[in-house]
């Protein structure tokens, strides 16, 4: 009883912060909810009307809707696979001491600090440009016809750019995790006659299970919202080849000025992200809390 009384002023003191956070979250969400039930075209502000769930029906039956869902899944999935597999392999490689290790690690991690728009521009104009890009030059060196990456392989190209940005994050986490791997255990395994692959399979990988879970979770949350790279490189095209859900919402809001449908789309994106989050937390969170 007395403990509860003592806690009351502390609770009161915490209230402003909690209320701030709630307002921060609830006001935009409530506004989005409200707009998603309105016919609201920015060019027709006077003609807004309540339309119920029509905006959702409209969003779900938009010609590019299913493509955008599929593109989102492919984009998130591919980048996750590339960064986790590539990240594990590279971090195991640079875990052994060799001259210049510090510099190599630094270089491996640095792409993470480049702004997405800048990274996308560099890839688009300096590397993948079919006329003046580095890859085009490389192709010509070997007598091949340069590839017009963003027109012929749009989704693959976007995946490449995004993977390049997120690989360093995975490496950063895995390298730190590997440093906590018990060296004595490794020595013992070697004395028992375990070779490189067996050590990797039965010692390193199990040790990395938790960091992998963390990387997958954090990246999935950010990758669902990829926008800048697509906006800068392909503008969602050609056609709708690289349109993901956030880009589709942008199309509705700022190219078609249809605030109602865009709000509905935003809510759909939120629900999708939540489904994914719940799914991931159930699946991976369990392995985080379990005692190994």
């Amino acid at each position: 009883m007395s403990a509860r009384i003592r806690k009351r002023p502390e609770r009161l003191l915490a209230q402003p912060a909690i209320i701030m956070l709630l307002v921060w979250m609830i006001v935009p969400l409530a506004m989005t909810l409200y707009f998603s039930t309105q016919y609201y075209n920015l060019l027709y502000p006077g003609k807004s009307a309540f339309v119920g769930l029509e905006n959702f029906a409209y969003f779900f039956t938009y010609p590019s809707f299913w493509t955008s869902i599929l593109n989102t899944i492919i984009l998130v999935g591919s980048v996750l696979v590339v960064t986790v597999v590539g990240g594990v392999l590279i971090s195991v490689l640079v875990d052994e001491t060799f001259p210049g290790q510090g510099i190599v690690r630094m270089l491996l991690i640095s792409p993470f600090f480049i702004m997405p728009t800048v990274a996308a521009l560099v890839w688009k104009n300096l590397l993948m440009n079919p006329v003046s890009g580095f890859l085009a030059w490389l192709w010509k060196l070997f007598g091949a016809t340069p590839v017009n990456w963003f027109a012929d392989w749009p989704l693959f190209s976007v995946i490449t750019v995004v993977s390049w940005e997120w690989l360093p994050f995975a490496i950063l986490i895995f390298v730190t995790a590997l440093q906590s791997l018990d060296r004595e255990q490794m020595e013992a395994a070697r004395m028992d006659g375990a070779r490189g692959f067996a050590i990797f399979r039965y010692l390193t990988l199990p040790h990395l299970a938790r960091p992998i879970a963390v990387v997958v979770m954090v990246e999935a949350i950010f990758l669902l919202n990829i926008f800048a790279e697509i906006f800068v490189t392909t503008n969602g095209g050609p056609g709708d080849a690289t349109t993901n859900v956030p880009y589709l919402v942008y199309t509705q809001a700022l190219l078609e000025f249809d605030v109602g449908a865009a709000s509905a789309g935003g809510l759909v994106a939120v629900v999708l992200a939540n489904i994914m989050a719940v799914f991931l937390i159930r699946l991976i969170g369990k392995s985080l809390t379990e005692k190994t």
Partner: protein, 455 residues
Amino acid sequence: MSDYRNGLGKGVVSVLFATLLGTAGVAYADTTLTIGTVNNADMVRMQALSSEYEKTHPGVHLNWVVLEENTLRQRLTTDIATHGGQFDVITIGAYEAPLWGAQKWLKPLDNLPADYDINDIFKNVREQLTVDNHLYALPFYAEASITYFRTDLFAKANLTMPAEPTWDQIRGFAQKLHDPDHGVYGICLRGKAGWGENMALLGTVVNSFGGRWFDEQWHPQIDTPEWHKAVNFYVDLLKHYGPPGPSDNGFNENLALFASGKCAMWVDASVGGGTVTDPKESKVVGNVGFARSPHEVTDRGSSWLWVWSLAIPDSTKQPDAAREFILWATSKPYLKMVAEKYGAQATPPGTRESTYANAGYIGAAPFAQVTYDSLKAVDPSHPTLKPVPYKGIQIVSIPEFQAVATLVGREIAGALAGRGNVDKLLHTADAAVSRTMKRAGYYDQKPVISKEPPK
């Protein structure tokens, strides 16, 4: 950003101050006008000349927000629709002016001074900016679409470009002149998705093949033989005789290609003439010919009309100073000043009869006569072979048009990049457009939005 806030603050203070004193003249003392405009060559020249304006209008400062066309359109639309009041002068096109004027989002520009000589401005151009007999914007420059071609290549291949070619003839020329091994492509056309990019050109192609966007009851006419024929023709033409990756090319990309001698022909805005005849920017000076935009079964709507104009948003705090600036930037003395500073061919084209009555301009700008003839021939009130409920040639004067044409443009750019089949996508697009129109209430008994076409 902070600059502009400062500026707005200053402006507000000065207006308040003026109100206190009760004299309109003081309102100009230390006024900052925020001007939103496009990064096209003619507007950049206007920005460069702002010191001239500030010299003759002491106390007035011009704060420029110069953006790429699509970005500017997004900023202006969101600002004006929410009455944000960020801008004192805005640059808008032939699509926005009548719609925004009808919404009363713009200040009407009535009672213009006599020396402005409003009747000198092309009637066609004025009509695009007029709603209910009020002018809502003043034209900065106007353009039609014309055919550019390389006279040296045509002479070498023994070909003659007619003054008014058809698309079939253009295709024949493209076939003969296409020589990618020597870096020359038969024809360059817009392929970049967007209602102001590929759909502007394609709109005129569809019109000349006898198609239309909507019938008299606002039902989309995209899944019709005319559209199928026109779009297949366009995709086929670019695939066989166009530059690689045509779906990336908009006006600026094609201008660069043509100016560097990579295209034998190019159908686009007449305003490109200033660049392709400028020795500093073009490798093909002296080898460029100009013809009317191609037609096919009809010449109705085969050349587009676009007007970049200056307007005053209703939310501005300093309408008088803004009006003064707009009158300056679209006046005869301004055109004369540009000609003196940058050469006669750089005069903002397509707005005034007096420009084309000037022998100096006609002599210096070989594209002037074709531009003049095209602009005079354009009739936005009768854009198509079959009757339509809308005005505008490559545009449809309804707010839904942006959504509709963005969608169709995206699908066609996809087809151009080899994704999807033209006939199938036109069918999908037609259904999608129909849905958008239904949603906006065009087919209701009691429409959410008036079915009447804007006057």
